[in-house]
Symmetry: C2
Subunit: 213 residues, 2 copies
């Protein structure tokens, strides 16, 4: 594009998107890459900080229904997750050095019980805190639902009282060389323009249908 | 307590809690006050930025199932929310200048349909982005579920295809004078020590039950 370098164009397609420039970090710059830097690892302290962030999320009545199993490249547990991936996710997900499986309490466990729709709502909040902590320390994340949840639960020992909802790929964002080495569909996904519905369709002022002042 | 001022003790009970000092902002300092500064308003641009942050959250297949109705003190809509509050929430919630009702798609609407448990998970993520944006610009939030969801939906015009899950009280944290003027149970709630389950009970390394290295 005339007058715009490839890098600037790529940034525009990712973050911050128009309208999001006014957001504070780490929300401003967060986006979900489809190509991670395959040669970069995550140190133990950094990984732990993500899970600490998840644990300090608010939850309904402070029930904290969430549970996480973190797996690192080169371990049998990581391979359990990779082996469970849907076809569409099996190319890009393994570019991340850490895959975290996120589950939430839906039955009875240690005297606690999952609370209806809120157990999913609370897990979502906790994962958001995890992903934003990751973003704040220079990592990126990309969540995925397309994997065999029961196979992953079985392979990682997650009890039946917890329901697996999401995987979280965590790593450093892929550089140009990684993107060029990726499968074309993953490179396309990585470069794809991020879009959202107009604010006027999701947020109202006082009454449903009234745009914000 | 000897050697510790009242302010330092209060901070210790709120944020960051031990173990959370290593988190990045705004996760590090986030907590949910039960007393807001009753005399402080929120300007339109700041309120809009919270809803923009919510809209840029990730969601399952980018479905963005969330919807928000923001109400401001002194409007009929705000009173709809206040009138719907449970007894336990009717004292502290109205100390906040803005109350946002969060709902998510569970039926059919405009050719879109709510997707099982993920509609709640996605709403939770969106609300987390909203609350962390608030924290980043000096506001605080406190979510509540205890209100008549159907009465609030009816009063605000939220269609039946959306399910109301949460209210979000947004404002500036109450100062000492506000806390002293609050009902004793709300002041206690405001000052209460924040606690979480041990990380070893919620986050595992490779296999369920194995603490992080």
């Amino acid at each position: 594009m005339d007058g715009m370098s490839t890098d600037a164009a790529a940034t525009t397609l990712r973050a911050p998107r128009p309208g999001a420039e006014l957001l504070a970090e780490p929300m401003r710059s967060r986006w979900s890459p489809a190509v991670f830097a395959t040669d970069a690892a995550i140190d133990d302290a950094t990984l732990e900080s993500l899970l600490v962030a998840a644990s300090w999320a608010p939850s309904t009545g402070n029930t904290q229904p969430w549970a996480f199993v973190a797996t690192r490249r080169g371990t049998a547990s990581y391979d359990v997750v990779v082996d469970s991936l849907s076809a569409g996710n099996s190319g890009w997900v393994p570019t991340a050095p850490v895959l975290i499986v996120a589950a939430t309490l839906v039955g009875e466990h240690d005297g606690r019980s999952g609370k209806g729709d809120y157990t999913f709502y609370d897990l979502g909040q906790s994962v958001a805190h995890l992903t934003l902590q990751a973003q704040a320390v220079g990592l990126h994340t990309h969540q995925f639902a397309g994997f065999d949840h029961e196979a992953a639960a079985r392979g990682l020992g997650i009890p039946a009282s917890f329901r697996v909802l999401a995987g979280i790929a965590v790593g450093y964002v892929g550089e140009d060389a990684h993107v060029e080495a990726a499968a074309p569909e993953d490179a396309d996904r990585h470069r794809k323009e991020r879009v959202r519905r107009a604010l006027a369709e999701t947020a109202y002022d006082g009454t449903w249908g009234t745009p914000l002042a």
